[in-house]
Symmetry: none
Subunit: 347 residues, 3 copies
């Protein structure tokens, strides 16, 4: 956009802006977290694909490998403009780290708020051979520390990706859609939900695989239904845990997105979401788990204040175990946030 040497965004930065429409939001007028996640991923896909093709060589498409945990810091509303800006902050040999910031702008009052900060990792796949990972052109760092910090983030996420991959390798336990009529309110079975989606051409990249952002939007949709069924109020996405995209999903697949509540605190709900792909035509392959993630929701009053959440009733041993694991994640996040706030206060 601006000339080299300009003090503004680096040459690689891009900005995407769009007016939020009624279909982007729930009935209370709050924009779905999934809409924002999809815009974030589109900006990331553009900037990383552009960068990976910036040197002569095999043409490639950057595929989303991982999204770091992201918090939804303030709600966005219909009629506001979502300003999504992305820039590349680190490159390893085979991956690109993109930092995306989202601001909501009320163009009537001029008020702007940061709604999200997200970090995404992309991997360049050859346009000719989708299984071939290409090399990433290195970026220039203004300071040596930037490179070192980037490398540290890279190593950390690599480790985490490896762990989830092993965990995901387990047998797929499908989320059975129970006969909800016979279930007690506030049990896991009562709010459990799923949807199926036939992957169409506009869901896909040039390589014919589903955009990570499309998958995240569907995941948020299911998680939102689970949360609303549980607490029967207006709910909004509060955060999404790190998501790893181990397996690509091809055009023509049917994907099943299922969600079940795992944990409730006083004012939040954690929902685990699974994406299973069914390459049911043209492919000998069995149904497989493509992605899974934890979404956290809060319940809001008409004035936008957080409401207490009914406690999740766990029935089976598995449900009780997952509740405890969810509690662990909740306490860990809480402790981390308090540490950050103390650190910030001391500075």
């Amino acid at each position: 956009m601006s000339e080299p040497g300009a003090a503004g965004p680096s040459p690689a930065a891009i900005q995407v802006s769009r007016i939020m429409r009624p279909d982007d939001a729930n009935i209370a007028g709050n924009v779905h977290g999934g809409t924002i996640l999809k815009m974030i991923e589109e900006a990331g896909a553009i900037i990383s694909t552009r960068h990976c093709n910036s040197q002569a060589g095999e043409p490639c498409v950057a595929a989303l490998a991982r999204v770091e945990r992201t918090d939804f810091l303030s709600p966005m509303c219909i009629g506001e403009v979502a300003n999504v800006s992305a820039e590349i902050t680190y490159t390893s040999r085979h991956s690109v780290e993109v930092q995306v910031n989202v601001m909501s702008e009320n163009i009537l009052t001029g008020a702007k708020k940061v709604t999200n900060k997200a970090t995404l990792w992309y991997v360049p796949l050859s346009l000719k051979n989708v299984n071939k990972v290409l090399e990433v052109p290195p970026i220039q760092y203004a300071r040596k520390e930037q490179e070192d910090e980037g490398k540290k983030r890279y190593e950390e996420q690599k480790l985490d990706r490896l762990e989830t991959k092993q965990r995901n390798g387990d047998v797929i336990l499908p989320v059975i859609n129970p006969d909800r009529q016979t279930k007690e309110p506030h049990t896991v079975g009562y709010s459990q939900s799923s949807l199926i989606h036939l992957v169409g051409p506009s869901d896909c990249t040039l390589l014919g695989f589903v955009h990570g952002g499309v998958t995240m939007k569907l995941m948020d949709e299911v998680a939102g239904i689970v949360a609303a069924r549980h607490c029967k109020t207006n709910i909004v996405t509060a955060s999404v845990d790190a998501i790893n995209f181990h397996e690509k999903i091809k055009k023509g697949c049917v994907i099943t997105v299922s969600g079940r509540m795992t944990f409730t605190s006083n004012k939040s709900m954690e929902i685990e979401v699974f994406v299973d792909a069914d390459p049911f035509v043209d492919e000998p392959r069995e149904r497989y788990r493509a992605v899974s993630a934890f979404f956290t929701y809060v319940s809001l009053s008409k004035e936008g204040k957080p409401l207490p959440v009914p406690q999740l009733l766990t029935e089976t041993e598995d449900e009780k175990r997952r509740f405890e694991e969810g509690k662990g994640r909740y306490l860990q996040t809480k402790a981390k946030r308090q540490a950050q706030m103390q650190q910030a206060a001391q500075q």
Copy 2:
């Protein structure tokens, strides 16, 4: 979905849930019948394509051949969750019967209502040769009667499909878009409407043919505009007669969807809708009639109560004849419904 006493949904049953958005509905907040028809068909297409590919053999895509008459039993609103569940209830050598149930769920109050029950017939077409109909793997029936009843339904619909095919073979009678300004209100010409649509990639299956559900959504859109032009109030789809899909429509075609009112009772309007396909690029073929069907609408007050409908003014001999035919269908349906209610009362 599953029968009482059954161990749970059969492995093949699927469930789709989606929150109804503002764009799915009219300004009064009632979800368009076409939105629901499209969801029903998507669920049907997924379950039948999955089933037809469940045995080793040539890969195929299930194409919609017919939808049985369906009634819209209660309105669905923005913010509600549409729960669409589909299961296979009969298979003949070359076709699959899918039973789809739709429930609206108000996730705030927990209230649920059955909005539709629909029966769809699909035929598996080879992915390599779209003109080749493949064999359908047989399903297991819990009881012998289920198979017998399914066979009876199969024979009945086969006969009806044959009849419409012959009727459709006639010369295409175009619906002329009249100079509405010069027409009297409540005449056939006054409310007559049509639209054109360029078939895009997302409208199509893997075989490159329009999804039956996309066609039905467009048909409902035109029929709804005809109904609204006639009575100038909030209108909703009350029922759709059986629709046969004799001719496929290819990607890149332009389709013309036209509707004209054929009959009014005190509280309902019947609209005949035609879909003509124009394979105008790259194809020597002439425009052809792809589908036609009758939609019934009712007019609702702001409180959701049915309103009286202005009587249709017929002018030409053809219009008078079609009015009488519509009256015949109306009386037949009414008699059938009364018989069902008496039967139900006696049980």
Copy 3:
């Protein structure tokens, strides 16, 4: 984006980027002109609404009043990124001029091409009273000449708007949908087409009126079908004449968009498009003409070379007259372009 010599994009400039999807394009992979027009208008609406609310005062929404003639300089394809940048170049007391540039970027090769330059005029309407036009905060000009040139452009378009308004005031001449089967190919009646569209919430601004970009997209859709029906090849939008938006279209209206071919040169087709609004629910008002415009299309071979266009066969006196008028516009544009090229060659 910014003028040579400028320090960089002005603080008010915005940039919108999006990957072009299959649904944005025709089967040959060329992005529809309407998709680009819609993106242009969205960028214009954001920047002008933002500017008009930048000073304390009544909140307002900028409504599109006019789009100057725009040429589609080079095609855009699926998978490319559309980069749309907008900045405010002139303000009068009650209107804002926005200059929008569109570049296509192939993120695999890095190749960039200017695809459009467009000028749009917006008028701020009060959020509380849609019929009240508010005052526009003045912008700062880097040089006095910029203001003078802007004022000249303002006066010119004002004159043209007035003229079209008077012309549009005539009786509405509906485009009759003919019985195409009985029409000879290449006549006006043969390719004439129209569609109806129910205005939904996502089509509208905060004021509940249709976005100008939504209207232009529908107009391009109809014009494209007329052009394709005439020459039965792959067609692309070459230019759009100035469009004036005299009348607002409200949510819940049915709009009828009709197109008829008016003129053909050796390698181009001119199509006149009308948008009529029918406020049929809850409104006493009659159907009215909201917008009309001329679109020019060219026919492309599989290699993307312009093809000769079959000559339009005119039958009635009106058709002959409109053909001559179209020829006039064609020759005028051609002369203007040649003058510009000579001027550019001399510089």
